[in-house]
Symmetry: C2
Subunit: 487 residues, 2 copies
Amino acid sequence: MAKRQTAPSAEVLARAGVDLHLELEGRGLRAGLTEALREAVRSGRLAPGTRLPASRALASDLGIARSTVTECYAELVAEGWMTAQQGSGTRVALRAEPRRPSTATVDAEAGAGASGVPAIRATHGLGPGVAEFAEFPRAPWLAAARRALAAAPHSAFGYGDPLGRMELRTALADYLSRVRGVRAEPQCIIICSGFHHGLTLTAHALAAGGVRAVAVEGYGLDIYRATLADAGLRIPPLGVDEGGARIDELALADVGAVLLTPAHQFPTGFALAPERRAAVLDWARTTGGVVLEDDYDGEFRYDRKPVGALQGLDPEHVIYFGTASKSLAPALRLGWMVVPESLLPAVAAAKGRVETVSVLDQLTFAEFVTSGAFDRHVRARRTTYRHRRDELVAAAVQSSAEVRVTGMAAGLQAVIELPTGTELRAVQEAARQGLIVSGMAQFRHPDAGPHVPRRDALVVNFSVVSDSAWPGALHTLSSVLPQSVLP
Amino acid sequence: MAKRQTAPSAEVLARAGVDLHLELEGRGLRAGLTEALREAVRSGRLAPGTRLPASRALASDLGIARSTVTECYAELVAEGWMTAQQGSGTRVALRAEPRRPSTATVDAEAGAGASGVPAIRATHGLGPGVAEFAEFPRAPWLAAARRALAAAPHSAFGYGDPLGRMELRTALADYLSRVRGVRAEPQCIIICSGFHHGLTLTAHALAAGGVRAVAVEGYGLDIYRATLADAGLRIPPLGVDEGGARIDELALADVGAVLLTPAHQFPTGFALAPERRAAVLDWARTTGGVVLEDDYDGEFRYDRKPVGALQGLDPEHVIYFGTASKSLAPALRLGWMVVPESLLPAVAAAKGRVETVSVLDQLTFAEFVTSGAFDRHVRARRTTYRHRRDELVAAAVQSSAEVRVTGMAAGLQAVIELPTGTELRAVQEAARQGLIVSGMAQFRHPDAGPHVPRRDALVVNFSVVSDSAWPGALHTLSSVLPQSVLP
C-alpha cells in the first residue's frame, strides 16, 4: 500500500469515507469496535469532521449485525467523540482534537498484526498496483474448503502433480468451455500461481524453443514486459487503437509470439476487432507463431454476453491464461493456462519438478467451481461492478463535456479520457486527496513510437475498494476531474 | 504414486493391510462405507483372504465412530462377503471371487474424483518419493482457517508482500527461536513454497553473486543436486560418516557454499558432530562462504531434546531452511528461509516481484502456529513416530543379527543397514509385495568416490502411511529383510 505524503483535510476524509479494518473476536465485539474508533479519534487517525461509513455498509463490510454498529456509534456520540445529525450521518466531533499530528494512513499490515490492535485506514486505491481487495467471499470459500478437506484422500496431502490437481483441471475444463468457449482437455491445463507465473513459464519455454522476440501491446503492465525481457526476449510494441492491438504490424515485427488481451485490452478497454481476431490466428498458422491470450477479466461484461476466448477458435496456436486474481482475489495466487499439446512438454519442463501452488487451495477452488459458488460470486460482483461503472460514467458526464469514459462496458477498470495535458495534474491531485489512481502514461511501452499515440486518461480500477468505501472514493475522484468552464 | 506391476497374492494383501480412501458424507455414512467395501470385493480390488483394518484404526482414520465401522463389518459378514474370526479380525471371504483379474492398486487420484465413488488402495509407500501423506490435521486446520479468514483485513486479499505475510513471518520468528534456537527478525524470514523453492532462489542468488560451486553431502536427494546444477553450479560431494558430513574436505573443495542437513543427515540419519558444527562455521567466517542449513525434520527427535539449529550460532553466515512438508503436509507448499541481512537483497530479487505462496494458507498457518495447534500436532505425531520407529527397530532385531537400524532416534526416516549385497533384492522383493521403499544406493551422489563408501541399507520413511496401514506395511517390510540362518 503506497503511503500518502501529506495528511488530508477533515473535509477530504469526510468525503472519501473511511475504510475500517478491525480484528473482531466473537466476544466483546461491540466493545472492540467502540474502542478502536475511540482510539482512532484520540490518535488523530480519524480527523475531526470525518464522516463515518453508514452503519449498514460498515456492518456488511465487517460481517456483523447492523445493530452492533449503531449501538457503538450511539455510545461514541454519548461520550462526545462523535456527533450525529439527521441527514449527514455520524461524524467525528470537531472538538475531538488529535493528540499528535494526524496521519490518515496507517499501514494496512499493522492492522493485521498479531497484536490484535485494530487499525483504521482512510486511503483508497483505485489503481492496479493497489494492495487491497475487498469483498472476498469468505463464508462460501470456507464452506468449500470444509467440503474439499472432508473429501480429499490421503494422497491429496502429498507433493502432488507439478501440473496441478486433476480435480481442479477437470473443473476448469468444464467451466472455461461453458463460460469462455475454451476448448481444453484437463491434461492440457496447467495450474500456476497467477498470470505472472504462467507468463514466466511461457517466456522460458518459448526462449528455450528458439523464440527471440514476443510482440506486446503498446499499452500494458510494465511487470509483464519485464517478465518477458528477463527471459531474454525482445518485446517490440504494437499500436493500440479502438479495435485493440494493431495485428497488421505483426508482419513486420519478426516475432515468434504475441501477447494480447483480446477480450478487453488492458488498460485501454477495447475489444480486439473481429477481423483482427481472424488475422492474428492467420499469422500464427502461417508463421508457426504462438498467441498468448491474457483473459484476465473475461467473466465481466456488462452490456452483452462476453466474446469467447480466441483459444476456442484455434487451440493449437493459442496459450490461454486465466486467473482467480480478478474474479476472487490475488491472495489465492491461483491461475491456469491452457497449453497446446505441442508446447506442453516445454511449459511443463519450465514449471519444474515440484508443485508450487497450494493443493488445499486447488481442491477448495475446484469445489467452489463445481458447486456453483463461483458462478454465484461472479454474478453478484458483476452486478456491483456494472453499477459502479455506471456511476463512474455519470460522474464523468457531470464533470465536463471533454471528459468521458471510453472502452467497453466490461471488466474491472474503466478509462476516463481527459483533455490533453491534464492527466498528470489529475493523478497528483487525487494522490493529494488520498486516492491512488493511475494515469494512462504509466502503461505506455517505453519504446512506443508515434504509432502508439499518447492519450490523457485515468485508468480506474473500480473493483478493489469495499462497498462502504466506494461512494467516498467516487466522490474524491469526481472532484479531481477537470470541470467544465461555464460560459 | 508409482504403480505396481503385478497383483499381489491374497496373503500379501492380508499382511499388508488395507488403506481406505472414502468420500464420506454426513448422511448415509454406514451405508456408503458398506457399499464401498462390497464393491471393492466384488470388483476384486480387495482379494479373498485380505484382512481388513481393525475397526478402531479405520474409524480413527476416517474420523467416524468406531460403532459405524463395526456395524458395517457385521453387515458384510452377515451377507457373506466377509468372515470374522476371534483373534484374526475381519477378512474378505475366500469364496468371494473377483469378477475380473484383480489389480490391487487403484490410482489414488481416481479415489478423489468428482464422481464420489470411493476407491480402495492396497499399496503402501515408505519412500521419499511417495505421493501420500496421511494424518493431516484436517479439523484443526479448518478451524484455524476460519479464524484467520475472519480476522484478515481486506488488504490481505491483495497481491501481498513477495517475501510473505508479516503475520506468518512474525509467528515463525517466535516459533523458530523457541523450538530450534534460530535467531531471526521477521523481516529476514522469506516465505517460499517449500525447500525446493527456497533452494532454487538461493542457488540463483548465489550464482548471481559469483558463487560457482556448492558442496553437497555425498548422500542426499537427487532433486536438490539437480536444482543447484540447473543454476549452473558445480556440486562436489563431501564424505558422510557417523559424524555427518566430512567438513574437513571443504578446505579442498573450492566452493562458495555448502548444503548440509546438520540436525539429521538425510538419509543416513546421523547428526553433524559438535566439532564439525564449529568447523563449518569457522570455514564460513574465514572464507566468506555460506552454509545452507536444511532443517527438514528438526522438530522430531525421540531420545532427547533436538540439537538447535546451526543458524543460531552464526546468523550472518547461515541460510536456514524449514518446511511444513514434513510436519504438516507437502500439499501446503509452504516453507521458510531465514536469510542473513547481507544476502537478503539477492534472495529477494530471485524471488521476484509477485508473491507465489497462497496468502490464505500463510494466514492460516500463522494462526495455526500462534494458537498452539501446531505444537499440539507435532507433539502427537512425535509420539506416533517414536512408536513406529521402535517397532521398526524391533522388527530389524528379530530378523537377523546382521540387520540393524542405525542413525539417531529422530526424524521421519530410519535406515535399516543390511548385509552387503542384499539391498537391491530387498527393494525389489518389497516392490513385488506392493511396498515401495528406497535403497541407500538411490541417494548416493553420482560423482561420489571412495570417500563416500557404499552401504547396503533401506531408507524407510515411516511418516507417510496412515495409522491403519502402518501395521501391514511393517509386516511386509519385515518379511523382505534378510533372515537369520539358524545354526
